[in-house]
Point group: D2
Chain length 309, copies 4
């Protein structure tokens, strides 16, 4: 297996990839951006890509949501959760917060520490970096034109950076969810605690259009654990929905909901069923169990056996 | 084939039965009431029973609705529509409306001519008869203690009764619908213009319970052409619904709706798919066609072929 | 107050009327049928009419349902429940069931004792009577041409009839519900345990039309305790719905649902809010309480106070 | 009036602000980021802030969506659409695409031109800038360590930059929508073509919870033109929805939907009704017009006038 991931090395994405059992001993190729990582998979240059999909504070990662919703088909085979905590690393000659005039990090990391920064280093100007790791490593270079960097504890530790403050994130307990994406292939067997992801273009802009889609889930008791609207790029007001549901396509209620959705939304895209990293919150009613579906289908099957002609 | 029907001979029910191709040349046994007719079928004494189910003015025939909803399973194999028009037959010695002191007929016929009677023979007292034919034929007996009878044109003609007025029904164009009921057996092949009948007990008395049932039809675009609530007999507020839908169990949208209903309402009873006597009014959207269902199922089937384990 | 009711005297309807506090000491005029009783109210000949609306075994009383749904407006001001139990009264010279060749009663009573009759007096022919009381009282006449009558215990007792069997009804515990109907006028103040009745014509025959009506109740958490479809008389497949809901028009959720229904169904007819005779089974969520409605309206009212122009 | 906006000067946001009639002649204070701009309004340092809310390609602007959904209440009073088109500006000594080794711009702009960049300047490394204007203006500095910048035509023109390519955006016709935000105050009078914005926290994670919210819109025929889910920050799977609907709180159907939403979702936040910059696509049925609402309310009002006690 050849893995790729949103690089560079040392970011939270690599930490997510290292949760995959055989990833630590496999080839791991950092990619410059999410699209590049997915392109390596689509072209066959890599077998799987780990990319961020959602942050518990910042929300969905638009680039990933869009990239897997269009273009050649891809499949999500697993997900990984990584707690997001940041440290403030500084150049060797910096000893106090007051000395910091510039702080560099990736825009997403900046968004998650902005409150702390405004309270603790209000004088510091933000210098965008292409990644948290890049901003941090640059501190070691003579070329660096910034005094501090916000980065993961891992990078700071591995590169031996000077850390002035830890846990500087505004929301404690923030988590980023990553997905491991492959070309379409075998679907992991159900574990009992699975989720499925599906892309649903909304054909029409009128009252009730979204309802008709959601009803396909509701009549089968399928819980939506995530719903994101994304523009299709075809003009303001044209959306698709990226949806996670509790359950696996091997389960009748999910398969039946997908069948119904295919009719009202034929351009939908199934992105996979895979183990849920954090458990599920929704219970399944008896009448939405596989047994109930099987009994119902047997019953209707019996009726149809009596058909003449 | 041995046929039975709600007798006596000469009523609208026999007229309905005579619409069945081979009924005119088959044995036809009148039954004293709807339950007796259905019992002959259940016991094997007859193969099929013609009974009234609905009148366009009076509404559902409760006895029939209840009798086919409970007890040993039965099946509807065809339906027949009979225009309902009444004549006023009188004893030979009656020559004008003013002379009529008593008028006899079945309660249902009386209900359909009451307005005419109140306007034209306000002095006449209503004498209930066990059937329109019985009330009419009794005019020929010396024993008859009534002056006039409201009956079908057929009986008047066949028995040579004196008719004082024709078309005395209050609502012109009234029609009664009859069903031909057999023991469960082969289901007639779809003709393209079919309906299906199903009995749906309502398990719970709460906001939304009926909605959950109806949603199973709506998400598949299945039109309800008739819905009747009937008491289960288990106490005030306990109902079942008797429902006709446009379409045939051989069609995917109907089969799929039945499958969904079986889950939320496992005690449902399927009473048959059969040709609609009067056409259908509802159109079927492309996304509820058999082709759309087949494509959807093939698509999900393809997904499930990729399942591991 | 002048009361009328579905006569003759001695039937269950008079028993229902006698539950009304001042009815025992007021004038009580029996009417020949439901329409005649309601006509007395519409014309001013009586102030209120007690008529049957529903039986826990037989279902809705079509004549009443239709009569209050059309014609000059009427109002339901109270309801009464009467347990339905029947006795078998016989002529003086009858001593055993075997001697009975004919049994008379009203068709509705016959329907409720038919099972008992078929088991216990299978040889007896049914002779329809215009009411249970009429069939019973006729036993006292020399003219009577039947041996037995099925009637209420009350009539048997008051007229001193010979009773051969008691509690011969097929379904023990059957109850008939009666309504007291007036011309439109003051609406009884809410008691906390009330119901409301409304007539809803269904404008269109298509999937979802009934749903749109029911959704108006569901989004306000209003429970339907009864729903009956009735033909409009304008042709097969044209229905109106007669609906009882838990709650009073004085309560915000009911008033709001009626407001919504008036928009989608402008020809609806409100038939009254009145105390429920048998309690209610549905609970009201906090977010459907009057307080929740008041808070919501105050909030929106506050927004609209900020409107310019 | 003192205006603020997402700076620096010369970006698309200032272009949006200049669409506001009196903005060109008023004080305009650039803010370092969206939160800073909104904070100036909340604190009274400015009267109104223009900030981006949505791009037709990139989707919702998370920072803005979140910032107006929480904290002290704000109000949207107008919106502005700005076509997004980019030019490639270069240092004076650059004459061809091949010479470009580094290109700087804001991450959002980079996302919108990435396809062009990968095809036309694949050798160029992306250098994140804090804004498109900052990246462009830096080309004029000797200090600049990048060869090219992706920026708005306006900045290039105003600063006299050398432009090598125009219209380099991947999706032609992209538009960004901006909102003008004030402290809560008067609501602009309806123009007939208005929209309203509301924030709806989703209390529960179960099948149907989102449906219950959407039904409040659907039963009043209110069209959703935008729906975005955003994390509440309280943990994965906890969302609120940011919703735009067609219509104005001065219109009955919108006011009624808001009233219903306040009950099921008491923590909702109304962000304003204001003229729609680009017209509306949804028609309003007669039964959802103000006239229909008025008639319905008058009718129910008439019923309630008859209430006793």
């Amino acid at each position: 297996m050849i893995y790729t991931y949103l690089g560079p090395a040392g970011t939270f994405t690599e930490a997510a990839l290292l949760q995959v059992p055989d990833a630590r001993t496999s080839e791991r190729i950092p990619a410059a951006n999410v699209n590049a990582a997915l392109e390596k998979v689509r072209s066959g240059a890599a077998d799987a890509a780990m990319v961020p999909i959602e942050n518990s504070v910042e929300g969905g990662v638009s680039t990933t949501l869009d990239a897997i919703a269009t273009g050649d088909a891809l499949q999500i085979v697993t997900e990984a959760l990584v707690p997001i905590t940041f440290v403030l690393a500084v150049r060797e000659n910096i000893d106090s917060l007051e000395q910091i005039r510039t702080v560099s990090t990736h825009g997403h990391a900046w968004a998650q520490c902005r409150g702390w920064a405004e309270s603790n280093i209000p004088q510091a100007e933000f210098v965008p970096a292409s990644s948290t790791a890049a901003g941090a490593i640059a501190l070691l270079d003579g070329e660096s034109n910034h005094d501090a960097a916000i980065c993961s504890p891992l990078v700071a530790q591995e590169r031996g950076l000077k850390v002035l403050r830890e846990e500087i994130e505004d929301y404690k307990g923030a988590v980023t969810r990553f997905i491991l994406v492959t070309r379409p292939g075998p679907i992991p067997a159900p574990t009992g605690i699975d989720k499925s992801t599906v892309i649903l273009p909304l054909a029409e802009d009128r009252p009730g259009a979204l309802m008709e889609i959601l009803e396909q889930f509701v009549v089968r008791g399928v819980n939506l654990s995530r719903i994101e609207s994304r523009p299709t790029g075809e003009g303001m007001g044209r959306y698709f929905f990226s949806v996670d549901v509790d359950g696996h396509v091997a389960q009748a209620r999910v398969a039946d909901a997908l069948t119904g959705l295919h009719r009202v939304c034929p351009d939908l895209r199934f992105l996979g069923s895979y183990p849920a990293a954090a458990g599920l919150t929704s219970a399944v009613d008896a009448h939405n169990s596989d047994e109930a579906f099987n009994r119902a289908q047997s019953w209707v099957g019996g009726l149809r056996e009596r058909l003449l002609g």
